[in-house]
Structures are given as C-alpha cells and as structure tokens.
Symmetry: C2
Subunit: 215 residues, 2 copies
C-alpha cells in the first residue's frame, strides 16, 4: 500500500510542479536567415531542409549549416533554424562573440537596430551581413493559457529561479506570449553553464519585493 | 555651488556603496601547483616568477604557463597562480571542461576528493595528475571586518545580486573569511558572461525569505 500511495503522491507532486514551473532549455549558437541570404548562400529559391523539430511549434534545425566569421575567428557549422525570417539574425554567446572578435549586444530577438554584422559562409559562397549579431536576452516563450496561470503579460520582465547544480535567480527575463509558442524558457550556453543546467531543469517565476528593489 | 554639492553627494554615495557591496571578479582558467608538480614540469627546486599580483594578498599570476590536456582537447598557456600549494588544483569553466572532455564537478577550492585528473604540459615535460580538476564554486573572499559588517560567518552560503548588463542573483555563494583575504567575490567566465560582468561591477548580499524557501 505504501508504495502505491507514494506513487500517487509523486505523480500529484509532478503534476502540480508542472503547473507552477516550466522547462529551461539552452539555445546553442544559431542563425535565422532571410530569403535574400538563403538565395546567396545556397542558390536562388533554395528551401531549407528540416532535420530536427524544436520545442517551439513549426521551428526546426535544418540540415544546412553555415560558418560564422568575425574579424578574429570563425565558428564552424553553426545551426540554421527555420523557417526563414524577414531579417537574418545571428545569435551567439558572449564567449563566442569574444572568440570571433565581435561586440554583440544583449538584445531581444528581432531588435537588430545598430547591431554589428558578420560574414556567413557556405563553401565557396559568402554573405556579409551589415547587421544582425546579438546575444539573446533570456526569455520565456509562453502560451496565453500559461500566461494567465502565471499572472504575466506579454513583455513583462520577471525573475526566474533555476535550482540546478549552481542555483541562481535570473533577473530581467522577458516574457513573450503567443498562440504560436509552447511554454519554455530559453537561455544561452554561458547562462546554462552558470546555472549548472541539466536536461529537464524547470524554472519558477519568483516574485520577491527585495529582488525588485532596484527597479 | 551645485556642482560642488553634487560632488560631495556622489562621494558620500560611493563611500556608502562600498560599505554594503563588494567587487565581483571573474577568474579565468588557472592552475595551482604543488612542489612535486613544479619539480617535474620546470625542474627540481624551480621557483615560480610572480608576474602580476592579484586581488588576494600574496597571490600572483606567474610568468610560467602550462598546457592542460584532456581526452578531447587541450587548453594552451593556462595561467599558473602562485605561491605553490600542498596539492595541485586545476580550475576551469564548464565550457572548458566540455572542450577538453572532462566531467569536472562544482567544488570549493581544496575539496578535491574524487575529482578527475588531467595532463599538464610544459614543453617536453608533462605530468599526469590523478585528481584535482574542478569548476570553482562561486565564493566571496572576505576580511573579518567585512564579515562583521555583512553579518556573515565563515562557510555561510548567501545570495548575491549582480546588477550588470544581464542582472541576476547568484545563489549558493560560499563565504570564506580569513585575515589573509581581501574582500572580493569570485566567479568564472561562464558566470561572468551570464551576468554581463564589466570591470568594477559590485555585488550585494540579498537576504530574501522567498529566495531561501528551498533551503
């Protein structure tokens, strides 16, 4: 009986846990390409080939990859995420940025004004982007349903506790809500290493007045 | 008169700030060597040459450097910090650990039981360490005077707010108190990138009941 009861309790705890938390995923370096850039790198009208579907519905890592070259170095075989976008965007970590010699700002996806450029290379083809290199600001993709559950609005900036091997509370986490999203928090590999992320780690939104004192 | 007043106010604010916060420094990858390892790498009785004095009194980066080799790769020209210690210790980031193929645990300095080994190389000389590779647990070196000011004891684990370009609150920060220390918080480069560290950034100890709820 006890083990049966334990099992029930564990399942209830798991289910409740899922209602108050969300999975944290680490995004590796990647690029999003616009039509013009795909045409130049892979040929006019070329279509990216989905290889692996990602947590966000309709988003995929493609079979195709690209080298990202800055003034001091190169990142080889960087993932291209599809589908194509209106504007090419290169998302790297600060570790990557230092390696290739680019001063990339912390930005939300799509906020590319005054960002530095970089060279994308596929074999003998290359494209110089004038702009588009960012370090992604930590964020949560959220469904409308979960937003109601967590009591947050689109654009809210929250704190998220990550109790991994190196516990910390991420501040300045942007909440982005869309019916096209699944609820996941995204951080980069520097942040994943800083919190000791392991697969399945879940984050909780912390509302703590002291922690908001500077705002 | 106003600018004179502004100047006075700014100086008072600066001074008060220094009393409630401490500088956060990023530690790059480095090694500490014991006598036997120095003998093997550099010759019997060899003395490390101080090149740059560090924030902790008596600690220095030496002229000498060493390559750190794991099963999957090598870190070239890694700093050797002096003076020599009773036990060799290699401190790398999780980014470094993945690069060279070593599963390094998060540990306090000196806690080397069951840690993995690595090969240290100086030119034609090399030493296989059986043990000693860690990712340093984030910590604050503190003077007794500051410990009293901050209300902490040796071994306390606190939360520290870092309001840099990527604000966050580091949890699980160990306080180490000694009359040989100067008060500085040390994090590694993954953590520095995760918080957007820039030179001179200061941390404050956060006491927040919500944040301690898991303890």
């Amino acid at each position: 009986m006890t083990s049966k009861l334990d099992e029930i309790i564990n399942r209830v705890v798991d289910e409740v846990q899922k209602k108050v938390s969300f999975e944290i995923e680490a995004s590796g370096r990647h690029v999003h390409l616009d039509r013009a850039t795909i045409d130049l790198l892979f040929g006019v009208g070329y279509q990216l080939t989905p290889k692996k579907w990602l947590s966000q519905p309709g988003q995929y890592a493609s079979e195709e990859r690209v080298d990202v070259k800055g003034p001091k170095g190169e990142l080889k075989n960087v993932a291209i995420l599809g589908p194509e976008r209106n504007q090419s965007q290169v998302e790297i970590s600060l570790t990557d940025a230092r390696l290739i010699g680019i001063k990339a700002p912390i930005r939300e996806s799509g906020h590319l004004e005054s960002t530095p450029g970089v060279t994308l290379i596929n074999g003998s083809q290359s494209v110089d982007l004038d702009t588009g290199v960012i370090v992604a600001q930590r964020h949560i993709h959220m469904t409308y349903e979960d937003a109601e559950l967590f009591g947050v609005k689109n654009g809210d900036v929250v704190q998220v506790r990550a109790s991994g091997a190196r516990p910390l509370i991420f501040d300045g986490v942007v909440v982005r809500i869309s019916d096209k999203f699944a609820t996941y928090m995204h951080i980069d590999f520097d942040e994943a290493n800083a919190c000791g992320l392991s697969k399945g780690l879940r984050g909780t939104i912390v509302k703590c007045s002291d922690a908001y004192a500077d705002d």
